[in-house]
Assembly symmetry: C2
Homo-oligomer: 354 residues x 2
């Protein structure tokens, strides 16, 4: 039996009585107990010319650090253009033992490199967003059991069928902690004032608000035939992009603190037929409100379900996500970045004394 | 059945096979599930004259904040003279729902007062050490079931008899997480270099190291008869003080980052027949090494056990502790404090930008 974590419910589940999901869905389990999951995004930020010149070396450097003792159980490389129009090269890495991650951070070459005053100059910024997440604050969903990505690339895992899907509130129900905690934003979802910090030439640490909800949502269409490829490119992807644009444009309503539409990369740096959307929300409530009621999400949702029903097990496009409702104490770090990077404009910001 | 949290063991327990404890001991349980416990120390630091003038007002001020919406489930007042010889007035408060604590921190008057630039001047320092602890990273022990103190003053709790006591490693075995995590210091217990930060006139945040182990150990002899009182004052308390002095004097060996020998206070500010020792260690390993092998602890331990056996249920001195092995992400905050306050000399320190 894989590891599960269940609390005796104090908060009612959202699953309707007798619910049977319309389409099969899957979730990740570990075969051994896990207390804390760690997902870390390492970014480099530059203009197009700087990015072209430096991205391969950045990837190689971070991978070099990750290859040291106590490195992650899995990692991937991606890129995105951020809200300010700069190019970002990103390595995401996963640990499933917090003590191993802490030791890597202590012993590897990453911290001395990242903290080096040399990083503060020049036209390139570096950032480091570490999500350290108690197991009961995470949930995953996959449209198919065969494709391994994100946390699902860590060892000692199984992808198992679930029935907590296909209704509004299912993501919440999949979070073990939701059985005893309503996971509300301490600010009641009130969007924070925007602050423009003097972030260039500085090493800033942003304190992630309690119950900030981080979603990595993935789309994989490598090897899809022409028909499903056309549908994905012409129908689903545009709907997805409209939804993402709305989340950012109306961020005071949606609670979206940070959004990155990332393209996954092959080993040689070329683009894969795969994207990952990283989105940080002030609260799970706000993500749910968008998902349950806004046209831009309803269109994505209905289209994905319709294609699943049409193609069934012949569906060649995989969609999935992993979601973390962060507790207190996560720090995102930014060195020489522009002031709109990540959650910088919307968080309590501390300065590293170097 | 009270709430319990058990992992399938990956790390062997330290309890010897067939162990029967020599003396009865008790532990705290909640009658409803708990995910995270919160223990916050609010301190004011001043010289003797400043303390005499300001301590009652400080206690009243903090209690005023705690009485606002979403305040703690319990709190106590204490005082101590710190390592630099300054007087510290301390309020410790307990929450058992992290969302309630987060909301209190967001909405109460505490943060605006603490963060006010007015706090940066003058001869008085303020500090705020918040321990936000996943349930599986805590354990408690009491020598008697009838006296409620610390976490045991929070509602929906029971004090239950245990048998994981009376052997070396019992505290570790009582930590649910120890079943799957060895709880080691990422630095391998190597004591950090001492840094003297320019902490006067500044608002500094110290990042608590992963697996830092914080113990609140209590002694209560209110109402003890002359015989047991004499024994406590003349035998047990001096042994305790010798042990505490050793922990600090040999801190590079013991891993003791911070130590406060606090006297509990009555409502009117007078001293109770009760003390609490707060000690933060780099790792549980180091606390265990002292407890298992050093004369100063063996003397305390043997004397306490002997008195328990002598007086049995007539023992009038209660000893207890609550222990937290902190995960990543706890920040201790210091405003206008002297540079040896708390963990300041031994931690990564960030500056609040105000």
């Amino acid at each position: 039996m894989p590891f599960e974590w269940k609390y005796q419910r104090l908060v009612p589940e959202r699953r309707p009585p007798g619910h049977q999901p319309a389409a099969p869905r899957y979730s990740l389990r570990w075969t051994e107990p896990r207390s804390t999951l760690v997902s870390v995004y390492f970014g480099m930020q530059a203009d197009a010319a700087g990015d072209a010149a430096l991205a391969p070396a950045h990837i190689a450097r971070i991978r070099g650090f990750l290859a040291e003792a106590n490195g992650p159980a899995a990692h991937e490389i991606m890129r995105c253009t951020d809200e300010a129009g700069l190019e970002n090269t990103i390595v995401v890495a996963y640990w499933t033992e917090p003590g191993v991650y802490a030791r890597w951070l202590e012993d590897s070459g990453f911290r001395p490199w990242f903290d080096d005053p040399a990083r503060l100059g020049g036209a390139v910024g570096y950032w480091f967003e570490a999500l350290v997440v108690p197991y009961d604050r995470h949930e995953t969903i996959y449209s198919a059991p065969g494709y391994r990505i994100g946390l699902a690339r860590t060892p000692a895992t199984e992808i198992v069928p679930i029935t907590t899907n296909g209704y509004f509130g299912a993501a919440r129900d999949r979070l073990p902690l939701s059985a005893i905690d309503t996971l509300e934003s301490p600010s009641g979802g009130l969007f924070p004032a925007t602050t423009e910090h003097a972030s260039r030439g500085a090493h800033l640490c942003a304190v992630v608000p309690h119950n900030c909800t981080v979603l990595r949502s993935g789309q994989y269409w490598e090897g899809a035939g022409q028909e499903q490829l056309d549908d994905y490119m012409n129908a689903l992807q545009p709907k997805l992009m409209r939804g993402m644009a709305y989340l950012v444009e109306e961020r005071e309503r949606t609670g979206c603190l940070s959004l990155r539409i990332m393209t996954n990369l092959n080993e040689d740096g070329s683009a894969r037929a795969e994207t990952s959307v990283y989105a940080a929300f002030l609260s799970l409530n706000q993500l749910e409100a968008w998902a349950e009621s806004h046209d831009t999400h309803m269109e994505i949702y209905r289209h994905a379900i319709a294609m699943n029903r049409l193609y069934k097990e012949k569906r060649e496009v995989v969609t999935w996500h992993e979601l973390f409702v962060l507790g207190m104490g996560n720090l995102f770090e930014y060195v020489n970045c522009h002031p709109r990077t990540g959650i910088l404009p919307y968080a309590r910001v501390l300065t590293d004394r170097g």
